[in-house]
Amino acid sequence: MCAQKRTESDAHAAQAAEPPKPADRGATKTVLEGPEITRALTRIAHEVLERTKGGEDVTLLGIPTRGVPLARRLAERIERVEDRTVPWGSLDITMYRDDLRLAPARALGRTEIPAGGIDGRVVVLVDDVLFSGRTVRAALDALNDLGRPRAVQLATLVDRGHRELPIRADYVGKNLPTSLRENVTVLLEELDGRDAVVLGPAKPRPGAEGEL
């Protein structure tokens, strides 16, 4: 059910074949710096506009914690390009997680749905790291209880692979092949004081944030 239980199977062989340098134990490596994150988000904003033909009925929903500032930044970028405001909000998935009973009860994040609701909209879910896909599954469940979007798309800053569910992202900032032992941390100006994506050795996952 959770990541720890699974052994590295053939499905992951492709990703394992091109791992980042076998970093020395304990070392961390910055794989994306601030300007690269900025460029990736600008590209995603343009891709969203292109795929949704102008983004007229797009609503961006960030998944707490780090998906929310990313959703806001994407909304700002689209606004700058198209000169139109894009509704954005946050969607907390805590109550919909499938691993609730594996960890102590955790605090809820914020859910803020823009005033127009999500009925008939193209909802773009925004998260920092796409990993097992379980967060996205939970988000789809949560959306289901909130209304009926016309379509749901997924944007993620980093796709680190190791999917456990048939889920893929529509917009990816960077594909980052990782080993299961590695840990991907996204740092954002709004919360951490700087923008970076850091790859480091795994630490025991405390209530895994943003990843399920």
Partner: protein, 308 residues
């Protein structure tokens, strides 16, 4: 498994966690689908040895909103009326595999005893004249929503303190959260041990009114009184009732609270009860969010995030 037996067991962080969680859950009331799948497969038993439609339905709805299975167990018509003891009832629940037990009992300490007999989490929904922690939580939540803060908030709790579990739980929780509570009642309706409570005591409502941001009126619990505590209801009402004249002397932002059920004309006049500054119905709505938060934090994870 941990329990919520007393408002005094909660640390400042735990209490704040419950209030914040309730605030997020309150939004769900506005959605078309009001349920969360969070407690699917879990069983919550409402064990009510005293009648209380309001509290029982609130807990029942809260558990159902979280998709738990709910069993209502009332003493009337159950084996309790045939003479079964609390312990045997508890063992029955245990055998049924209850994950959470919400208990209301006329004996102080019943919830505490029960927590030693069952594996599931026990939530005290009122035990005798002792405590009613979820009521205190919803009161404090209502204050925080209305007044925007709790630190330094001045709260007067007025009326039958002696028989009130609501007063005790509120005093403990308000103290934890940095508010100043003052108990106001005739000397006969003050508990004997009141000097050990973390609050001020006054016998004069008029003096306390002008200094309060929140005035919480309590019901005079005639059913718990086995003696004369005041000469006549009329006299009580004149000295400790909140009428429109007294209401007018409160400062403009101050709110009036009441845990319900209200006895209009006795402790509170109809005009005050119907005023927009009286939060009685809001308290009921907030009670649902608070109970959802408590059930989620106790039963939602592999171990509880709150309680002792």
């Amino acid at each position: 498994m941990r329990h919520l037996l007393s408002a005094g067991d909660l640390s400042r962080d735990e209490a704040t966690l419950i209030l914040d969680t309730a605030r997020e859950l309150a939004q769900a009331g506005a959605r078309s689908v009001k349920k969360f799948p969070t407690l699917r497969g879990r069983t919550v038993v409402n064990l009510f040895f005293e009648d209380s439609t309001r509290t029982r339905t609130s807990f029942e709805l809260a558990a159902k909103r979280l998709s738990a299975d709910v069993i209502n167990f009332s003493a009337k018509g159950s084996s309790v009326s045939k003479g079964e003891s609390l312990k045997d009832t508890a063992l029955t629940l245990q055998a049924m595999g209850a994950d959470g037990v919400v208990i209301r009992h006329s004996a102080s300490g019943a919830a505490h005893r029960l927590s030693g007999w069952v594996d599931g989490s026990v939530v005290n929904a009122g035990d005798g004249t002792h405590e009613h922690p979820t009521q205190a939580l919803l009161d404090v939540y209502t204050m925080r929503e209305r007044m925007g803060r709790l630190d330094g908030l001045r709260v007067a709790i007025v009326g039958d303190i002696r028989h009130s579990r609501v007063a005790r739980s509120n005093v403990l929780l308000l103290h934890t959260l940095g508010a100043e509570a003052t108990l106001v009642a005739p000397p006969t309706l003050m508990p004997v041990s009141v000097h050990t409570w973390p609050c001020a005591v006054s016998y004069d409502l008029d003096e306390a009114l002008s200094k309060s941001d929140v005035v919480m009126m309590l019901r005079v619990q005639a059913e718990r009184m086995q003696g004369a505590y005041f000469p006549t209801p009329r006299e009580y009402s004149r000295r400790y009732g909140l009428d429109s004249e007294r209401f007018a002397r409160m400062h403009d932002e101050a709110i009036v609270m009441h845990p319900g059920p209200m006895v209009r004309g006795m402790e509170i006049s109809a005009e005050v009860a119907d005023s927009p500054r009286c939060t009685v119905t809001e308290q009921v709505a907030n009670g649902l969010s608070i109970r959802m938060a408590v059930l989620y934090l106790l039963l939602g994870g592999s171990e509880s995030a709150i309680g002792a």
